[in-house]
Amino acid sequence: AQRVTQPEKLLSVFKGAPVELKCNYSYSGSPELFWYVQYSRQRLQLLLRHISRESIKGFTADLNKGETSFHLKKPFAQEEDSAMYYCALKRYSTLTFGKGTMLLVSP
């Protein structure tokens, strides 16, 4: 069965510091991975998908099939990045989400 693991419940950094939110997955097929973000009192929204290899709001994520990881990175965190981040794995038509990591960026 597929599984998504986000080992950190909370990640607290200072403004300007680098950020890495970890995501590991287990899946027997070819994975399709996403990062979703939920800002305070807002709905979840798509941040990144690995297939696009894009950078959104300064965030990037690279799929590493050897390490079965899809870590989210940003070189310089901003206060407005504070949010809950979910890694998700697509299987057929559905997504399996990790438990999420709360990112707190302090001034």
């Binding site: 986000q6 419940k9 399709e32 807002q42 709905r43 979840l44 929204q45 798509l46 998908r49 297939i51 696009s52 979910y86 697509k90 038509s93 559905t94 997504l95 399996t96 989400f97 990790g98 438990k99 999420g100």
Partner: protein, 116 residues
């Protein structure tokens, strides 16, 4: 984002009562989903639907019922609410196509349900 709405936004109900959460989308997306969000569990899929009259169970479907008579609506019913069903419920929808871009799930604002 206004294309997918949920009602009510907040609901308090008693144990044993039946309660229905509504979800409506205006994009004519074929897929719709219900999740519950709980601290320490993240988002867990309750039910999903590929089209009108086609539904399937997710990871945590016990105690829930869904229907989809129209493409735009996907109500979730708790037949006999229990305290363990206190949660935030999110509805989502997505299109279907040959392009992966069409797969993005769009989420509703959520319904906070408290079962006393």
């Amino acid at each position: 984002d206004a294309g997918i709405t949920q009602s009510p936004r907040y609901k308090i109900t008693e144990t044993g009562r039946q309660v229905t959460l509504m979800c409506h989308q205006t994009w004519s997306h074929s897929y719709m989903f219900w999740y519950r969000q709980d601290l320490g569990h993240g988002l867990r899929l309750i039910y999903y639907s590929a089209a009108a009259d086609i539904t399937d169970k997710g990871e945590v479907s016990d105690g829930y019922v869904v229907s989809r008579s129209k493409t735009e609506n996907f109500p979730l019913t708790l037949e006999s609410a229990t305290r363990s069903q206190t949660s935030v419920y999110f509805c989502a929808s997505s299109g279907y196509g040959t392009s992966l871009i069409s797969y993005e799930q769009y989420f509703g604002p959520g319904t906070r349900l408290t079962v006393t």
